[in-house]
């Protein structure tokens, strides 16, 4: 169960996709919801577990418990998505819910309003592609 959705993919021998990757579907994680409760959850938004919220509520689902554990350190929404192998839209809903409940704190980039930095993101993407 550690590693969230990626649970079953430890087997290097499997030619096809591991069972859990195949049969677990992301829409069940949020009950079909795709709209985050928080507006400004961008890929680069940083998330950290709130102090005193270290004992996760029993109402949390498996993924949210995994998120709570990951967020003992500061991580970005994009990183949570990647580590838990969840679609970015699902991660945003989960983190948004947790932020509303005060379980995690969000740090948004203080600079320009969100979405105006498309050019910057493109430059970053370009740079990343050049590295690989």
């Amino acid at each position: 169960m550690s590693g969230g959705v990626g649970t079953g993919d430890g087997g290097p021998g499997g030619a096809g996709r591991p069972w859990s990757r195949r049969y677990r579907r992301p829409y069940t994680v949020t009950g079909g919801r795709t709209h985050p409760a928080h507006d400004d959850l961008e890929l680069e938004t940083l998330v950290q577990a709130a102090l005193g919220a270290s004992s996760p509520s029993t109402r949390l689902g498996r993924e949210q418990r995994s998120i709570a554990a990951l967020c003992q350190e500061v991580v970005s929404v994009a990183e949570i998505s990647a580590r838990l192998d969840l679609p970015i839209g699902v991660t945003r809903v989960l983190v948004g819910d947790m932020a509303l409940e005060g379980l995690v704190l969000l740090y948004r980039p203080r600079s320009a309003p969100a979405r105006s930095d498309l050019a910057l993101l493109e430059r970053v993407l370009y740079g990343l592609r050049n590295i690989s």
């Binding site: 169960m1 550690s2 649970t7 579907r25 995994s66």
Partner: protein, 335 residues
Amino acid sequence: VIERLQRGEVVDPDEEAPLQVGSRDEIGQVARAFNEVHRVATRVATEQAALRKSIGDLFHNLARRSQGLVDRQLELIDELERGEADPNRLEELFRIDHLATRMRRNAENLVVLSGTEQLRRWSEPVPLADVIEAAVAEVEEYARVRVTAMGELTLSGQAASDVAHLLAEVVENATSFSPPSTVVEVVGSPVASGYVLEIEDRGLGMSDAELIEANKRLATPSATDIAVSRMMGFHVVGRLAARHGIGVQLRHSWYGGVTALVLLPDRLLSQATEQAAFAPPWPANGAAAREPFPLAEVTGPALATGVYLPLRRHAAQPSDRAGGGDAAEAGEPVE
């Protein structure tokens, strides 16, 4: 002989003459005539068995093909969902995903009904929680299903798909026969011989007679025929349960609906080797605080047969509770 043929065994009609005829008098003639009738009946049954087998093979091949296609479709949907940042488009993708997932379940159920062989098997054990989540994903009204944390058990990879489809049928039955405003709860608890999942709905329930009938159908999966297609759900459950020695029983729920008990036997289960670092303790207000599980009833002598007949709870559950027209409707299994 006919039963053996229906089970798919090979029978030589000439070797199966029931009466040894020695005399030439009237009794001998009657015996010979009887043997002739028997031979004809056996031949007809043999032909029918061959026909059934070829229809089964046809099922199987068609279902296999659509299963493969839907699998590929789901892989593509996975990729699209992964990168989708727009909530509205993601919502649409989820709908497509859900439909494709249910199509795969149908295709794989058809493979089960064709009776030929098992679904593709995985060797790695699968977390039980994943299997239950997969089952919920295959249900039309998945958003109404509430699963209480399942602990760290894993299920044999060989049985994972079958158990998921079995549970999907049971949960689907629970959601179809309870009001849309109610939840269906899935709770698990360890018992002496394995792990029991309770699937409880808050519908109108079934009468005692309907429960007995339904449990009988679950216990004796018959050969596939037209009648089966109308109650495919129960039939699939019965087949899959028999294949893995899983116990399935329907009972009255104290909430007024039906509780389905699914007993996963020990040999399908193992403890997860890697302990999740951040798994919370078992929720104190979850399974533990519920109505205590009637352990003695489950570990009784009926255990070996795999499927138990319902235990009626007259005291707490008046049998006329589910009476009337609604009961008849609730008695119909899914699909």
